[in-house]
Subunit: 205 residues, 2 copies
DNA sequence: CCGGTTCTGTCCAGTTACTTGACAGAGAGT
DNA sequence: ACTCTCTGTCAAGTAACTGGACAGAACCGG
């Protein structure tokens, strides 16, 4: 792969550690309480840091929530991406596997469960939907990139459309699961298979 | 196991990060130069930190080297310990497996290779031998602990002796490998098997 | 509708951690 | 003897985190 694990100077690593410590602290708190019940002070204390430091690092509660969601999203995207790369030989299979992986792990993810199941998380929920522009764009971009890099013959425009639609569907099913995750994944990907096969056919010729 | 991954406050994590960043930087430098050619300033710069900070964290070059070696030792001990725990049902097997694991990974370990193969590392070498008291004691203690916790019937005194002797042998073979690591491990452990079996026999009765 | 409470977001004084530049002393090389 | 370099230490300066305070907004109970 790329992304050499190059040596990181301490000051950079320390800032990253600070941010992650705060985000981890918030996740930990979410395991026992609703987001609405967790104050900025709680998060700071749980991270062993002053409230001021928290505000300096993330400007506001809203920004903090945004970053929290985005971080979780990136880790989902990492998993999805590697799942896709394991089926470069069979695009439909890649789609099915990635969607299945996403829905399955989404159903178990603590942060997502907090958003979906509990009532005090409207603020977080909005970040996935009405306020979800950064999330959708970022996720669609990464999906598009993995598609074009994995199947270079596919036109970027087609990949972008597919990425955008899949991300929106994924979010929808994550927010409102429809029974068994694997069944949903199989159903949805079967729906896309004709389109994917058409893409492959067009570009293969 | 024990050691719950409890939440670490940032200030503690940051100090640990600083120390590890410095130690990692030294290891990295060791991959391209002899220990004698690496100055404290080099290490500080490589870690993205001032020389003063390095001296504040580790009092002197000697202490730094000591910690460097001890950190590597702890990671070896972790591996050895888990190897032993996988053969709790067969003490002789545990001994053989652990010794083999140690010698094999010792032969590949960058820090140890730097000490053993290159000429500018006498200062580090001393930490394994003439200055090696802290190392030997610590390693023998951990070995003793894993033995008594794994086979509670064995007398602590016997475990201590065995631990001490094994650690010294391990260090000796690490410093001066004698041909194939696995062959050495098999030979040495065969030598101890009668003693181990005697221990087991005595305590089983 | 009002007083009490809590939380957010901001400010500031104070402490702690890291940086920068400097210097004496030890050791190696010329 | 002279120069160079590195170690170890000091002092002054800067940046990061702390702790206490406060105005404003939202909520709650009366």
């Amino acid at each position: 792969m790329s992304a050499a694990p190059q040596r990181v100077p301490y000051s950079v690593a320390a800032r990253e550690l600070l941010r992650n410590t705060l985000l981890d602290a918030a996740c930990h708190e979410l395991e026992s309480r609703h987001w609405a019940d967790i104050t900025m002070a709680d998060i700071a204390v749980a991270a062993g840091v002053s409230r001021q430091t928290l505000y300096k690092e993330f400007g506001s509660r809203e920004e903090f929530a945004q970053v929290l969601v985005m971080r979780e999203a990136e880790s989902f995207l990492d998993a999805v991406e590697s799942s896709v790369r394991q089926h470069l030989d069979a695009p439909p299979k890649a789609l099915a596997a990635a969607f299945d992986l996403f829905l399955t792990s989404a159903a178990e993810n603590p942060l997502l469960r907090a958003i979906v199941l509990e009532e005090g998380a409207e603020e977080l929920l909005a970040l996935l939907t009405t306020q979800g522009k950064p999330l959708v764009e970022r996720a669609a971009d990464r999906l598009t990139d993995v598609v074009v890099s994995g199947w270079p013959l596919i036109r970027r425009r087609d990949a972008e459309l597919l990425g955008d639609v899949l991300v929106r569907l994924a979010i929808s099913y994550a927010a409102l699961p429809d029974g068994d995750a694997s069944a949903t994944a199989a159903a949805v990907s079967s729906l896309f298979q004709p389109y994917v096969e058409k893409l492959v056919r067009e570009t293969a010729s």
